[in-house]
């Protein structure tokens, strides 16, 4: 091993590929430069070439293709195409918000987690704005994002909601429903459904934090900040930091989210309260992210992303999510690491004790590099200390 750079060790190409996919463009270029100046590249040419080839391919594989449609207050989807990738901004603010928000969401998934769009295969990001009249909602229909105008066509004194593109975390939320559909595909009811909702809130909030370059302690951890009009007594639709406190209003009522398992709501409405009980895993993520510190998308986000994309399945419940995020943190950062302990604390805060056996890494058949080597590589990428 080199004395100048501990990264000079043989990393299996599959691992390099994984790391290269996770790295931001800056991290990637740093890694490529480091490799290029390596004196050992000659003696380990084959191994590095495999890795460099993968990195180069990954760097150019991003395929951001957005299209925004206008439903003109009707219900036919997708509606009329009004802005395509690379087009100049439109005069319609909802069109531009949908376009820009989808762009930042793509950038987070691609730049940080190496995910090439919703399906990890460059799927075109289609969005429809101005869906129906006075439609105070947004949804993912299984193939595209759909946004209503809120109450912007009602008299100002009657308005409760602004247009749903106004909060970028709503856009990240909807797009993440697509990611979940292609990965764990969590059933949209009861605990799997609340987890589905929570992953959308988690990555929706991370999109906003990524756009604003905020650390975990700087972020507001609100979902739908700016969505409620001044007629409503509230700061947003949900608070990941303090579920149940986002609003309390004579018309909207009170934010119904519980902040721990003791408040778990059993109901048949809303597919078993998927937007209510999501407050529990939301706060587990918040607590984990603040415990780790720094930019939440880098470590807490990576743990949650890998758990969603590699471990969870359609029937996973809260306990499974706790155990598997804990296991994933152990695999990335080490058993007993600060990061893994933070995950345990996050779930403990909401009344869920992680199953410690989840921390034992899954045995892998391939030869593994020494732990010092993996840590060094992760350090270069800013993913380990």
């Amino acid at each position: 091993m080199s004395h100048r750079h501990s990264i000079f060790c043989i990393i299996p190409p599959h691992m390099l590929k994984e790391i290269a996919q996770r790295g931001s463009p800056v991290q990637r270029s740093l890694a490529l430069r480091t490799i290029a100046t390596s004196g050992q590249i000659r003696s380990q040419r084959t191994a590095w070439q495999a890795g460099i080839a993968v990195m180069a391919a990954t760097a150019s594989a991003g395929n951001k293709q957005r299209a925004i449609y206008d439903a003109r207050q009707g219900s036919q989807l997708p509606g009329t195409l009004v802005r395509s990738e690379g087009d100049a901004p439109a005069t319609d603010i909802a069109v531009n918000e949908a376009y820009d928000g989808a762009g930042v969401t793509f950038d987070l998934y691609y730049g940080v987690y190496g995910r090439n769009s919703i399906d990890n295969n460059g799927l075109k990001l289609n969005s429809t704005v101005h869906y129906q009249k006075s439609y105070d909602n947004a949804f993912w229909d299984g193939g595209q994002m759909v946004y209503g105008d809120g109450d912007e066509d009602l008299p100002p004194a009657q308005r409760l909601f602004n247009r749903f593109t106004i909060s970028i975390d709503v856009i990240g939320h909807e797009l993440t429903h697509g990611v979940t559909q292609y990965e764990a595909n969590l059933n949209y009811s009861n605990q799997p459904g609340a987890l589905n909702e929570s992953f959308s809130d988690v990555f929706g909030s991370l999109v906003k934090q990524y756009q604003l370059q905020q650390t975990a302690d700087q972020a507001d951890w609100l979902i739908g900040q700016g969505l409620l009009t001044a007629n409503v007594n509230g700061v947003g639709l949900r608070s990941m930091k303090a579920p149940g406190t986002a609003y309390n209003d004579p018309v909207l009522g009170r934010d119904p989210q519980p902040d721990s398992m003791s408040g778990y709501v059993t109901t048949t409405e809303d597919n078993g309260g998927v937007h209510i009980n999501s407050g529990i895993p939301n706060r587990a993520f918040y607590t984990t992210a603040v415990e780790i510190g720094g930019f939440a998308w880098q470590k807490a986000g990576l743990i949650w992303y890998k758990t969603l994309s590699e471990k969870l399945n359609t029937n996973s419940n809260f306990q499974n999510a706790a155990d598997l995020t804990f296991q994933t943190a152990g695999e990335i950062y080490g058993v007993g690491s600060l990061e893994q302990n933070a995950v345990a604390k996050g779930w403990q805060a909401v009344g869920i004790t992680v199953n410690a056996s989840g921390g034992i890494p899954t045995p892998q058949p391939q030869p593994q590099p020494g732990p010092g080597c993996l840590t060094a590589v992760l350090r270069i990428f800013g993913l380990a200390r």
Binding site: S75, Q132, F139, E174, Y188, E197, P250, V251, D270, H275
Partner: protein, 101 residues
């Protein structure tokens, strides 16, 4: 006598809103409008459940209409509602969400 019971659940906010209307208690023009919307929707011949698998964040609507002679309940959603029913859903949604809790 015609009574309409309406519930909208789900959506990004997860907030359920509901409403019960006795058409006899409404101003005649409003009652007439709603009767027209029920007729246009061919309400009593609509399938009981047209909502397919759950679609993330879309609204689910449950509407019951009772008259002296008959009663019918339907469940539908944004992506599954027949076009002929949408004006009725729009009208009921607007009434339900602007009333005070």
């Amino acid at each position: 006598m015609t009574r309409i019971t309406f519930q909208r659940s789900g959506g990004f906010t997860g907030r359920t809103i509901s409403l019960t209307l006795n058409l006899d208690d409404l101003p005649p023009d409003q009652a007439s409008t709603l009767n027209g919307l029920l007729t246009n929707a061919n309400f009593f011949n609509l399938p009981a459940d047209s909502a397919k698998r759950p679609v993330p964040d879309e609204f689910t609507y449950t509407v019951t209409v009772e008259t002296g002679q008959q009663s019918h309940t339907i469940r539908t959603s944004d992506t599954s509602a027949p076009e002929s029913l949408r004006p009725l859903l729009d009208d009921l949604s607007l009434r339900a969400r602007t009333q005070r809790a």
